[in-house]
């Protein structure tokens, strides 16, 4: 394939190496390139370690990390003393810095929890107490007038404001972590599903086998496999965990957050619900997200939206914000929570982040549901600490902490736009009309350093196809670029990973 990647496109070159050797030696193998796997890769890439990330999908954030509310949580929802509470609060406090370092869209919007009756207010008082015990800052009750000032048009008699809650772009977050890890020497191998794990007693090293027949060896195995983390543990002989997928469905609304929703608005949580309740969240791109529902299902690949839940979602959202209108809907999606609690128990269990004593070298990260992304950097630091206790970690002298995203036309004022186009005329060719994405931005996305190759890889990097026309204008233009300028055959173009081919071929 003729993807000429600019800069450090290590994976493509390394893949050829792998084929030759069929066995690849590492210090650390990370299984899964979601937010946790990418954060761990980035954290460990500070040190003199040979790191490979194995991912079954064609890109980062292909699972839980790409299908959530995109909120940086404050940490008041979790039980004091739990890892969830501790790591979430710490993650929240460092999130703005990491987003600045890695050039990830982040907005500290704050968040409102709305009380509809006295009982709700009592729950909110309890949440503030819990949050303060967790070390959260900026939590306080607001009366109805203050509620209306913060969020005009919302129902409710009062509420709670959390000033430290933020929204961010989870795709660009994972991409940034991964690109920065790559820059610092970590290796990402996509389309590589782990199918077997052996641990030799002689040298205590793991051999990891992928579906394509390759083998990777390492002393440490970090299980960041999200929905499949129990299965990875099982392959390594640990049968203690079981993930129960719990589906959450969402609606995406047009870019109306500026007018209607300055900050995330949640209902006061009711006891016993596995999620946080159906809420309204503005995105960093200005859209509104409605959701998620919470429904335990059996199939870990079932990301379907259902008629019943869709109906209910919108009704609940409209109860929170009566100004919503179905005509504002531009899309829907569903995500799965990797829960450790049985359906009948509800609620949540704490994150599992530990090296298994029965399998030294295997570090399991299991049940990392919300607030996993918020906590991802502290989780990664914990992993580094676990390794450092056994093996001295030497910091690289040339570790690059920051990473810059290529400019986006829509972020700039007219003078800056003109300067950018003068530098590169392709910045003046608009490919995506809804989001004003230029041809150069699409090209940057196609030639991404990680070598991810799909329409969704372009979508999440350039934000094309995400607007109200769902790609009606830009998809034909993007495909035309892939075919004419990158030599792809139409039938090779996939929406996501292999198996999601968009076309059957040529007409003639």
């Amino acid at each position: 394939m003729a993807f000429a990647a600019g800069g450090a496109c290590a994976p493509a070159a390394d893949l050829r190496l792998h084929r030759k050797l069929l066995m690849y030696e590492n210090d650390v193998i990370i299984i899964g390139a979601g937010g946790i796997g990418c954060a761990v890769a980035r954290e460990l890439s500070r040190y003199e370690l040979n790191i490979t990330v194995l991912e079954k999908e064609c890109d980062v954030a292909g699972g839980i990390s790409g299908r959530n509310s995109a909120v940086v949580h404050a940490g008041f929802n979790n039980r004091p003393g739990s890892l969830m509470a501790k790591l979430c609060v710490r993650g929240n406090q460092g999130f703005e810095t990491i987003c600045r370092q890695l050039d990830v869209p982040y907005q500290k919007t704050g968040k409102l929890l709305v009380a509809f009756d006295e009982e709700d207010l009592e729950i909110l008082r309890g949440i503030i107490a819990q949050g303060e015990a967790n070390g959260c800052r900026g939590l306080h009750l607001v009366d109805q007038a203050e509620l209306q000032r913060l969020m005009p048009g919302v129902g409710g008699i009062g509420g709670m404001l959390s000033s430290e809650t933020a929204v961010f772009d989870p795709f660009l977050y994972c991409i940034a972590l991964a690109e920065n890890a790559l820059q610092n020497g970590a290796r990402f191998v996509f389309n590589s599903e782990v199918v077997g794990i052996d641990r030799a007693s002689s040298d205590a090293r793991f051999t990891v086998q992928t579906a394509d027949g390759r083998q990777y060896r390492a002393s440490y195995l970090i299980n960041c496999a999200g929905l499949y983390s129990d299965r990875i543990a099982e392959m390594a002989g640990i049968h203690d965990y079981r993930i129960y997928p719990c589906r959450g469905e969402y609606f995406i609304l047009d870019k109306i957050a500026d007018e209607l929703l300055p900050l995330p608005v949640y209902p006061a949580p009711k006891a016993g619900i596995g999620g946080l309740g159906v809420h309204l969240t503005p995105t960093t791109a200005g859209n509104i997200i409605i959701g998620p529902s919470a429904e335990y299902i059996d199939d870990r690949t079932d990301l379907a939206c259902t008629a019943e839940v869709m109906e209910q979602l919108f009704a609940e959202a409209k109860a929170l914000l009566p100004a919503l209108d179905r005509r504002q809907i531009i899309g829907s999606y569903a995500g799965l929570r990797p829960k450790l609690t049985l359906p009948k128990e509800g609620g949540y269990k704490d994150f599992v982040i530990q090296e298994e004593s029965s399998c030294p070298g295997l570090i399991n990260l299991i049940g990392i549901e919300s607030p996993g992304l918020t906590a991802s950097v502290p989780i990664a630091e914990m992993v580094a600490d676990i390794i450092a206790k056994q093996k001295p970690l030497h910091e690289k002298s040339n570790f690059v902490e920051g990473r810059k995203r290529p400019p986006r036309l829509r972020d700039l004022d007219e003078t800056q736009q003109a300067a950018l186009i003068a530098e590169d005329p392709e910045y003046g060719e608009i490919i995506c009309r809804c989001q004003k994405v230029s041809k150069r931005e699409i090209r940057n996305a196609i030639e991404n350093p990680l070598g991810a190759r799909s329409i969704s890889a372009i979508k999440y990097r350039a934000w094309a196809t995400t607007g109200r026309c769902n790609g009606g204008y830009c998809l034909t233009r993007i495909v035309d670029m892939l075919v004419r300028e990158y030599g792809m055959k139409p039938e090779e173009i996939t929406y996501r990973s292999a198996g999601s081919e968009l076309f059957s071929g040529r007409v003639k």
Partner: protein, 508 residues
């Protein structure tokens, strides 16, 4: 800053006719800004016939109609700038004197009462100050996201216009087994087009009790090819994890709700949505033009003027039209009035009672199911319903004699224009392709380097021979340059004669 009397946004049928109208009314400098690399808009991908009956009293294909409209605009003396994406319009207050045009003190350089249009192109940001604006920005398609079809989000779900572009312009086939949701005209036209190019269209599904598009399209796109239409049905679920595998079709009750127990699975690899068009008015909104909240159409008076003095709107951005001819008529009127507005001369704007106009235009062609034993005459836009009485052998319902001849032919041996595309090798220097422009085997054409040229038969041919003729042309490649109207191939008319196949656009 550059100045214009009338600036037109969009070079589809509306914009091109507006340019002609504006020049006819005496405007000095008329500029059209078009975001695509060529004029014509959606006409370029509408390779079927049925255009031009009102404007040119001829059955033209979309590209032929575009060529005429372009020529007229060009001959009128208007300037066309392609690759210019208008991002906003700023209106500098109401005109200072008279109904518009020059400032009261006669100065020409002041910007009061002018509109400043900003467009992005590969040359940078262009600003043009214009006395009057015509918005001819067209429409976009309603999407899967907007109508919230339950189910998964696999590859293989497209809107009809996107499929039309892929099949007719990009030479890319979306699938082999296709279901179409929505019986709007684009959906039915694509049902025929996909069938002729070798796909199997297994169902056209319509939510309403009757087909939504023109009766003539029901006959000529569905019945002609034995394509099954299911009215009062919908797609209740999309199935397939990575690639579309099937859809669930359900019957609807009188209230439009799914009747439980009527679900049935239809296997398919592409779902094509033809579920409505939405006026595209993002540019209009930047100028403060008032839109109808429900339909997103621009509200204008009978002179096509919006609430912002000096800004006019026409075509699909003003309201969704059934025929391009009417878009042109409206564009010409809008252009004329914009020029009158812009001029200081004492010329009256033209007025039309839009209610009468719209009524006259809403019925010229019948919609829904064709009547039994009745053909819709397609010789003119009146669309007479010509009945045949088998007992008496007599025809009725025809508005003129031609209707009887048409119905007789329809009954015995229906004839249709062949409209399709053929491959053109852009590299005319390639010796493997004859330069005469006549047919040549496709083998010599390197994959990915050919472009598609819309073509038509010179005269209608027997419907029976149409599929084989399209198939015959699939393996034909011609060399550029090709002039619009030139002969590129011949096909059999089924009666032993060869019929000329003509290029509907120029190439190279």
């Amino acid at each position: 800053m550059e100045q214009a009397d009338v600036l037109i946004v969009g070079a589809g049928p509306g914009g091109l006719a507006a340019a002609k109208g504006a020049k006819a009314a005496g405007a000095e400098r008329v500029v059209i800004l078009e975001r695509d690399s060529r004029p014509g808009g959606i006409l370029n991908q509408c390779v079927h016939d049925g255009f031009g009956l009102v404007r040119y009293q001829k059955q033209l294909t979309g590209p032929e109609y575009a060529v005429r409209a372009e020529r007229e605009a060009e001959e009128s003396g208007a300037e066309l700038l392609c690759g210019h994406h208008v991002v906003n319009i700023k209106s500098n207050g109401a005109p200072s004197g008279g109904r518009g045009g020059a400032c009261s003190d006669g100065c020409d350089g002041g910007f009061a009462g002018r509109h400043v249009v900003t467009a992005i192109s590969s040359e940078g940001l262009k600003q043009i100050s214009a006395r009057a604006i015509v918005l001819a920005t067209g429409c976009r398609e309603r999407t899967r996201g907007a109508i919230a079809i339950p189910g998964s989000r696999p590859a293989g779900v497209f809107t009809a216009g996107v499929v039309q572009n892929f099949v007719n312009v990009k030479n890319i086939m979306p699938g082999k087994r296709v279901v179409i949701l929505g019986s709007g005209d684009v959906g039915m036209i694509m049902a025929r087009r996909l069938t002729l190019e070798g796909a199997e269209v297994v169902a056209v599904i319509e939510v309403l009790p009757e087909p939504a598009g023109l009766s003539r399209n029901v006959s000529q796109c569905l019945y002609d090819y034995g394509i099954q239409i299911y009215c009062s049905h919908t797609v209740s679920k999309i199935i397939g994890k990575r690639k579309l595998e099937a859809i669930e079709m359900s019957q609807l009750n009188d209230c439009g709700r799914v009747i439980p127990g009527t679900e049935r699975l239809i296997e398919c690899d592409a779902l094509v949505l033809s579920v409505g068009l939405i006026p595209e008015n993002e540019v209009a909104q930047t100028a403060g033009v008032a839109l109808d909240a429900r339909s997103n159409r621009v509200v204008t008076d009978s002179r096509m003027q919006t609430n912002v003095p000096g800004i006019f709107s026409c075509g699909n951005s003003r309201s969704i039209m059934d025929m391009a001819d009417f878009v042109s008529e409206q564009g010409e009127l809008a252009g004329w009035n914009a020029a009158v507005y812009a001029s200081a001369r004492d010329v009256e704007m033209r007025d039309r009672d839009l209610r009468d106009w719209e009524e006259a235009w809403s019925t010229p062609m019948a919609k829904g199911f064709p009547q039994p034993n009745t053909v819709t005459c397609s010789l003119c836009p009146k669309g007479c319903q010509v009945r045949f009485d088998a007992e008496t052998g007599l025809y009725g319902g025809n508005g003129c004699k031609r209707g009887i001849a048409f119905a007789e032919q329809e009954r015995l041996d229906p004839k249709r224009f062949l409209t399709t595309t053929i491959k053109v090798l852009a590299d005319a220097g390639d010796k493997s392709v004859e330069k005469t422009g006549m047919a040549k085997s496709a083998e010599a054409c390197p994959k990915g380097e050919a472009v598609l040229l819309p073509v038509r038969s010179e005269v209608p041919i027997s419907l029976k021979c149409l599929p084989s003729a399209v198939k015959e042309l699939q393996s034909v490649t011609v060399a550029s340059p090709i002039q619009c109207g030139s002969v590129v191939a011949t096909i059999s008319d089924g009666e032993g004669n060869r019929v000329l196949v003509l290029a509907c656009a120029s190439c190279g």
